[in-house]
């Protein structure tokens, strides 16, 4: 397929039209993309992937907008992947994160792509990791990832990012205690946004207490808590520095390799999961087909029996 070569070249030349079309096919999980992704993967530049998660409305998109501006001052070419939820009923989605990033809209060195979650749980989209590979091959660095932002169970972002930011803000009605435990444990950097509001400092010390309860080895990364307010250009420099400090930390002593091994494993698991689930479903339907002929059998007995047979047929033989 000569087209594959053309796409590969387009990506390496950072051609927006080619990238856009490939990202679209990746999002649609077009099987033709596998061959292309396989070729693109070794071409990735070492770019820091920065994941932002946190409840809706805390200011994730606004923060990304501000951080992109800071990166642009330094001349970096920046990527953004922002995920919004798909409706479970209609499959439709309103992708509005980039409204907050308008000022970068005509900057060719900022590539912003909105993704719909398309039924995937955990705050990301099924296509996210593949999309990251494409952006890394194009040389965008750093790349920001904004999760759907339910504030709950969105720990997936940790598995695809080098650096994970949990963004919180005062005035969301309740204290951090009410947040699901998971999300408070994944951050490399905690951001208390909307620092212009009164109770920001209270929230900051609440988080500091929470992470202070954990013991960190001296050689380990100690999570930081940073107050920001993009509208007032407050804390952004400090946040940018903290993000860079985490990158330096990862690059020292081979931690980045370890992290990237985890990220690559996650990519394998993600790809396998979909394939295996599909295989399972087909196989299971097949196994069930003959079994229900005359009467409805006890589903508990049935599932036990089927699992044994299934194990023999699919798992044990390999």
């Amino acid at each position: 397929m000569p087209k594959v070569q053309a796409i590969l070249e387009g990506i390496l030349k950072k051609d927006a039209l080619t990238a856009s079309r490939l990202l679209r096919a990746v999002d649609d999980q077009d099987p033709k993309t596998i061959e292309i992704l396989e070729k693109i993967y070794p071409e990735r530049k070492p770019s820091q992937v920065i994941g932002l998660t946190g409840p809706p409305g805390v200011g994730k998109s606004t923060l990304i907008d501000a951080l992109v501006a800071k990166e642009r001052e330094g001349g970096a070419c920046v990527g953004v992947l922002a995920i919004d939820p798909s409706s479970p009923f209609t499959g439709g989605a309103l992708l509005g994160d980039r409204i907050r990033m308008s000022r970068h809209a005509s900057d060719p060195d900022v590539f912003i792509r909105s993704l719909a979650s398309r039924g995937r749980m955990g705050g990301l989209s099924a296509s996210l990791q593949d999309s990251l590979v494409v952006m890394q091959a194009m040389g965008y660095s750093p790349i920001f990832v904004e999760t759907v932002g339910t504030g709950q169970d969105e720990v997936e972002v940790l598995r695809v990012s080098h650096t994970t930011l949990v963004v919180l803000a005062p005035g969301l009605g309740d204290s951090i205690q009410s947040l699901k435990a998971g999300i408070m444990e994944i951050a490399d950097i905690y951001v208390v946004n909307k620092a212009d509001k009164d109770s920001a400092r209270t929230l900051q010390s609440e988080i500091e207490d929470l992470i202070g309860m954990k013991a960190y080895a001296p050689e380990d990364w100690q999570p930081r808590v940073i107050l920001t307010s993009p509208a007032y250009d407050q804390g952004l420099k400090e946040l940018q520095e903290a993000i860079k400090a985490h990158w330096t930390y990862l690059n020292k002593a081979g931690r980045r390799r370890l992290k990237e091994e985890q990220i690559a494993k996650q990519l394998v698991i993600g790809r396998m999961q979909d394939k295996i689930l599909h295989l399972l479903e087909t196989k299971l339907n097949h196994l069930l087909e003959g079994a229900w002929k005359d009467e409805i059998l006890n589903p508990y007995t049935m599932s036990n029996k089927l699992f044994e047979r299934f194990k023999q047929q699919v798992v044990d033989e390999t």
């Binding site: 087209k3 796409i7 927006a16 039209l17 856009s20 079309r21 490939l22 990202l23 679209r24 096919a25 999002d27 649609d28 999980q29 077009d30 033709k32 993309t33 798909s86 409706s87 209609t90 499959g91 439709g92 989605a93 309103l94 992708l95 509005g96 980039r98 409204i99 308008s102 809209a105 005509s106 060719p108 590539f111 912003i112 792509r113 909105s114 719909a116 398309r118 099924a126």
Partner: protein, 133 residues
């Protein structure tokens, strides 16, 4: 996975009327499309750049300011310049004689006040195909 129609819906120029476009954007989401909404006051350059980056199947512009002829023309021209073949449609306050001019220019369809969102959805279903590699 089934393909989804992706659309860029936005406002160009100094036009603050966003009631209609928000209603349209929501209706399109509810019809099962993926809708990237740009917000107010975008330049034609920004619209085209966003449409390319977002890999959309069509661009829908809302213009109630009276500047539709210039703005649509600029967007179509920039798309051509960049080699992007993304169909453009839109709506707003557009006199009948200008609708003729816009269509001649290459705007695929226009919807004016009173247009039902069901009509808009139907038109997209009939005329916009999701792109592929």
């Amino acid at each position: 996975m089934e393909k989804k129609v992706r659309l860029l819906i936005g406002k160009v120029g100094l036009d603050g009327h966003d009631r209609g476009v928000k209603i349209v954007a929501r209706a399109l989401r509810d019809a099962g499309f993926e809708v990237v909404y740009t917000g107010l006051h975008q330049t034609p350059e920004a619209i085209v750049n966003m449409a390319i980056q977002e890999g959309v199947d069509a661009i829908g512009l809302s213009i109630l300011s009276g500047a539709h002829l210039e703005l649509f023309e600029r967007v179509l021209c920039l798309l051509k310049e960049k080699g992007a073949t993304i169909p453009v449609f839109g709506g707003g306050i557009i006199p009948p004689e200008d609708i003729v001019a816009l269509k001649k220019m290459g705007v695929k369809e226009t919807f004016t006040p009173g247009a039902l969102t069901d009509q808009i959805v139907k038109w997209i279903e009939d005329n916009i195909v999701p792109q592929s590699l």
